[in-house]
């Protein structure tokens, strides 16, 4: 047990909508991949998400966005993380969004990766493991 580092992930659900099917399936899959997954619950503001990420000292924040507000939410969370000295926390996400938006968010550095519907959940877990290992290397 000694010296073991566990990957901690905050799965967060911004927006007023209640579509949490994807977030919960992913949370459960990451648990089964050996991670500690903190679930924020529904209706979270960017401020609440960032506070939780910091207090829980997570390695990764995953945002599940189905409200169409991706272009405002990802940059806002990224900025708040940076402002709070948490540049090392990896921000990624998933949800229903057009490819252009995904490209834009990855290009401007708001999101390290975004998974759209149809992605096998195992792929998400593997991506996180590699991203955290890459960061800590």
């Amino acid at each position: 047990m000694s010296g073991e580092k566990k990957i901690r992930v905050l799965v967060a659900k911004p927006g007023l909508d209640g579509h949490d099917r994807g977030a919960k399936v992913v949370a459960r899959a990451l648990r089964d991949a050996g991670m500690e997954v903190i679930y924020s619950g529904l209706h979270q503001t960017p401020e609440q998400i960032v506070e939780a990420a910091i207090q829980e000292d997570v390695d990764v924040v995953g945002l599940s966005v189905l409200s169409g507000a991706q272009l405002t939410i990802f940059p806002r969370v990224r900025n708040l993380l940076d402002e709070n000295n948490a540049q090392d926390i990896i921000l990624m996400g998933g949800g229903t969004m057009p490819a252009d938006d995904v490209q834009e968010l990855k290009r401007n550095g708001s999101a390290a990766e975004i998974f759209t519907p149809g992605t096998p959940v195992e792929k998400i877990g593997n991506w996180i493991k590699e991203a955290v290992a890459g960061r800590d290397a």
Binding site: E4, K6, I38, S40, G41, Q44, I54, Q55, E56
Partner: protein
């Protein structure tokens, strides 16, 4: 790490969170950091919240936090959920109930997985309490796993332990029999608007009538409804009364002394055990002796005495 220690003492959340991770992961600098923080601990009052699944522990913690904050005190919360014994992963969902406090500068919430520990708390809970204490939390609330097993570890951590019951859970009488009678300083019958709350209260009072209260404290049985925050101020009063009782009778210092003594001995045991394991694995002599035991040449006691006499 130095800057994080300074950060904690200056009340910085990010530093506190980082040090908690260090403690949880049993990192190499843990011992040094904890001893630097130790002089700054011992001020926080520690409340334990335990009870069966679905009793409303997180909601109760949420309500308590709200009331305590109204008194101007700061709160640290440790919420423990079970880790999977197979994958080591965990789903930590207690925060959901407490998100109203997410932006409150006076509240720090940390979710922990049990990581193999069986007594209802995470292995590092005691140490994380200390970090939150050093960080400046006036009150630290520790919420146990609540999977219905005997969760006695909380006794070694909390000054006041609340046992949360709920009507209609069906298991309350068994739970009481299973030994939580001993750990409760206060009983809380939550969801008291459901049928049968009074019955639960009566049952618990009945059991309390039968047990002795050596230290002069008879645990009160309170009714709460977290949804409407009914009974929460009474609960706070009861906690304060328990605290006053502990202080006036000297049991507070006594109990804390007792816990520290236990902790020191635990650490000694832990270190010795680790040393023994290490030398057992390394020593040829021991391997030879164990082989003899296997061949029925000597019995385990004789072999053990020989090992100890040789010195390890």
């Amino acid at each position: 790490m130095e800057k994080y220690v300074q950060g904690i003492l200056a009340g910085d959340k990010r530093s506190t969170a980082k040090i908690i991770s260090l403690v949880e992961n049993d990192g190499p600098e843990k011992k040094r950091v904890l001893s630097q923080l130790y002089p700054h601990t011992g001020k926080a009052y520690i409340i334990g919240v335990t009870g069966s699944p679905g009793a409303g522990k997180s909601s109760l913690t949420d309500c308590l936090t709200k009331q305590i904050r109204k008194q101007g005190l700061t709160v640290g919360i440790i919420a423990v959920d079970p880790s999977s014994p197979f994958t080591g992963g965990a789903l930590l969902g207690d925060r959901i109930r407490m998100q109203d406090h997410a932006l409150d500068k006076g509240v720090f919430i940390r979710s922990m997985g049990t990581r193999g520990s069986l007594g209802g708390l995470a292995r590092a809970t005691k140490e994380v309490v200390r970090v939150l204490d050093a960080y400046g939390s006036d009150v630290v609330i520790v919420e146990t796993v609540g999977v219905g097993q005997s969760e006695l570890d909380i006794m070694d951590v909390a000054d006041t332990t609340l046992v949360v019951l709920t009507p209609g859970a069906g298991d309350h009488v068994q739970t009481i029999k299973a030994g939580i009678m001993e750990i409760a300083d206060i009983f809380v019958v939550n969801k008291a608007d459901l049928d049968g709350a009074d019955k639960v209260k009566t049952e618990v009072e009945g059991m309390l009538d039968l047990s002795c209260h050596g230290n002069g404290w008879r645990p009160p049985v309170l009714l709460t409804i977290t949804r409407t925050e009914q009974g929460i101020t009474d609960l706070i009063d009861a906690i304060n009364r328990h605290k006053a009782h502990l202080e006036s009778t000297g049991s507070f210092q006594q109990a804390r002394k007792e816990r520290l003594r236990t902790e020191v001995l635990e650490v000694v045991e832990h270190v010795l055990r680790a040393r023994i394991h290490k030398s057992v694995e390394a020593s040829q002599d021991i391997a030879r002796l164990v082989a003899k035991v296997e061949n029925r040449e000597v019995d385990p006691y004789v072999a053990a005495e020989e090992i100890i006499s040789v010195g390890i």
